[in-house]
Amino acid sequence: MEAALGHAILTVWGALGFDAELMARYGPRVVDGLWTTLGLVAVSCSVGFLLALPLGVALVEGGRVTRALCLSFSTFFRGTPLLAQVFLVYYGAGQFRDALDAVGLWGVFRDAWWCVAITFTLNTAAYQAEIIRGGVRSVARGQGEAAAALGLRRGQTYLTVILPQALAQGLRPLGNELVLMIKASSIASVVTVYDVLGATKYAFSRSYDFEVYLWAALIYLVLVETVRRVWNLLERRATRHLRPREA
């Protein structure tokens, strides 16, 4: 069954003017790369979101010191190239091998995938925190006051009143950030991770056939467009109570 499906795909691929033999040889690697890309993006965006929630709230609510700390975190990760951050973590960690060994983390930092995942997570956390900050600030002050008048504690107010509205406001930019992360994840290929681009570069270095880069382009375009469209649909559904009723 699987072989028949593979054969069918290759036939269509050949009919489209692509090189079916090249696809048969390197296609599976690129598909593996796709899973690596998706895994990287899923992990870093979701963990990044969990970090961004407290960060974003702290950027609004924190005292002077907390705010300054969170702001420098976000400024650093948003103001410098992701590639340099990846190099900083991946190569920089080697310098702290003894210390990392002592706390049992060397195994993590020795692995390129983990280094990249950690860097991506911190990077997207900084961007998502700014989105959440913007969302929180867009919620009218009266909402918090009304919640306080109803006797809700600060934490409850945030969880049940402010954050839901802030996130509804931030859904669209969060979707943009997801798309940006999908694209940026290709940077992992620079430090030996075999994501889509990494597998493509491998195929190119073996075959010298430029066509493989066009596969990669197609994969990223389909991925990004799908995510963008699906997210837009979800966003429209999730915020339909905020739009005026259609006449």
Partner: protein
Amino acid sequence: MTDLFGLLSFGSEGWGDDLARGVVVTITLAVATLPLGLALGLGVALLKNAKGRVARALGELYTTVFRGLPELLTILIVAFGAPRLIASLTGATVEINSFVAGVVALGLVFGAFSSEVLLAAIRAVPKGQSESAAALGLSRRLAFRLVVFPQLWRVALPGLSNTWLVLLKDTSLVSVIALADLTRQTNLAVNATKQPFFFYLVACLIYLALSGLSTAIARRLEARADRGFAAAGR
């Protein structure tokens, strides 16, 4: 600690001069990309604003492709693909140097993002503005320069300065095609000194300073573009 900073000294001992040369390449690359990217962005914005359906579809296609492709992939495609394309079209073998490849690739990307900003700005200026300029007897060119452009520019500036900041950071990706920009020079320093953490941190701080400088310049430009406009609030 002192010997770490010694590594940043200028001259044959330190890497300060090498990094400085990288900074110059990074800035030159970004500045050289700007006119190409803006021209492409304006062209694509006009396509998307056009009446014809084909023109609009072309504009959308351009934006979808170059906004959707990873910047790194665009750079590799231009660097490896352009010589092949030229060879198959003209039969001539050409070497494209990495600076030109970088400018073209980053320009294509900048064009896609800035076209969205410029389109919004074009639409933000009401038609009545150019109509009343015409009624006052201004030629089309004068009307654009004196009436439409200042308003368009004011709306477009914040978006364009964002796009510029993204471009500035994206320049680091050209280090992958061996252009001696700041990131590449830092790689070299790291290979020679085995001080990756220190040097990449320094590189990050330099990028941060460049971003800060850009933001300060953008603020000035925005303040200038805002003169004569009374905003609500503030």
